[in-house]
Amino acid sequence: MIINNKYLFLLLVISQCTIYSQTDWVRWEKSDPMYQTNNRYLEREYDLSIQSTSDIIIKPVVNTYWFFISDVDGDNCPFNPSCSSFFAQSINETNLFQATLMFFDRFTRDTNAFGRPEHYPRFGRNHFYDPVSLYTLDEKKINYIPAKTYVKE
């Protein structure tokens, strides 16, 4: 033999290691992870456009409430949409009088801290889903979702 068996084996091992060595370096590159979670309060769409008569009173009130109270106070409403957004959406869906009644009813439900998990579907980890469509008195719009169902993971 020209080459010793031991060297041949060693040569094979080295060549194998070189040929089949890991090539996907991308996986091991340095990364810059973001540890901040998205805050939907910061994504709020402030809107002062007047589309109906009630908007003249309601929109400034809602925007002022969002800017000075809600955004400063933080994400404390247990529901999605939040009570102020619920009120704004209620006006769009119905009228000022009905929306006010819907808001007072929502506020009552917001005050009651008991039995929420057994009553509402979940919206993410920290909120319960309670859309306006359930409360417009239009039975066709009621899309019942059972409690504990995740509307959004």
């Binding site: 006010t100 819907m102 009552t108 439900r109 005050t111 009553h119 409360y135 019942y144 059972p146």
Partner: protein, 283 residues
């Protein structure tokens, strides 16, 4: 020297005993497809069956492809494949009831009911299955139900109890009256919510209305007019909002009743495999 000999033996042995199985023979393709089918890997099983059908004409494989699509929830393709079943096929009868199941799951009511009627009135061994599927599906529509005795005709004794329960619930659902909920909350704030089963909300509404009512009363009594009117407005808001909320609460309660009923019937149909036969392809 020994090393070279060892290498030579390995080299020769690997050539001599190398694999000679023809994986692409029709029998092996079918065996593999059957394995995938029984492993519930229907998508890949269908691919293999399709490959097999290019070589061999086989009615049972055609039927299995349709069942594969059906089991995957692709009722459209299942229906298309089943509709190609020839009258001479041993699976012709089964394909009819399977087509009916696909039509039901595709939510094509007009085709479903006309096909069901044809199958019920035919000489098919599955006409009773079609009758049962049609009657159960009627529970999920707004159509008028036939009389209970007529409705229960196609069902077996063990099914009658469940179906008569469903029938009763459909005829007399345990709804809550929206008007009564509103009236109750008008008399005693929160009682309408309690009537619809929302005890926490009912008690909260009672406390909030009572609290603001009391605050308004004491402020009027002590002649704090501005504060008194603010508390009156808020208290009135809670009072009226609760009456409104109680009516809505009854609507949501009724929607829940409908939802639970529908889910119950759907679950029953699933459990009964939509009254189609169970095939022992994997035994």
């Amino acid at each position: 020297m020994m090393f070279s000999l060892y290498c030579s033996i390995i080299f020769i042995a690997s050539i001599t005993f190398s694999q000679t199985i023809d994986f692409q023979s029709p029998q092996n393709i079918k065996l593999f497809a059957d394995f995938l089918f029984c492993d519930k890997d229907y998508l890949r099983a269908i691919d293999e069956y399709e490959k097999y059908l290019t070589m061999v004409d086989d009615d049972s494989v055609r039927f299995k492809i349709a069942i594969g699509f059906s089991n995957m929830g692709d009722q459209y393709n299942a229906y298309q494949k089943l509709s190609l079943t020839k009258e001479s096929s041993p699976f012709y009868e089964q394909s009819k009831i399977e087509m009916l199941k696909s039509l039901y799951l595709l939510n094509i009511d007009s085709s479903f009911y006309s096909s069901a009627e044809i199958l019920i009135n035919s000489e098919s061994v599955y006409s009773n299955n079609a009758f049962r599927l049609k009657n159960t599906s009627l529970l999920l529509t707004d159509n008028e139900l036939p009389e209970q005795k007529i409705f229960l005709i196609p069902f077996h004794n063990d099914e009658e109890y469940t179906l008569s329960n469903f029938y009763d619930l459909k005829k007399n659902p345990h709804y809550k009256s929206e008007i009564w909920a509103g009236v109750l909350s008008t008399i005693i704030p929160g009682s309408g919510k309690i009537y619809t089963g929302n005890y926490g909300d009912g008690i909260t509404a009672f406390i909030l209305t009572g609290l603001f009512g009391y605050l308004a009363y004491t402020n009027f009594k002590h002649d704090h007019q501005a504060r008194a009117w603010i508390f009156t407005a808020v208290g009135a808001g809670f009072y009226l909002g609760n009456i409104y909320g109680s009516v809505v609460s009854a609507q949501i309660f009724n929607a829940k009743i409908n939802f639970d009923f529908g889910e119950g019937v759907k679950f029953y149909l699933e459990e009964k495999n939509y009254f189609v036969p169970v095939y022992d392809f994997c035994k």
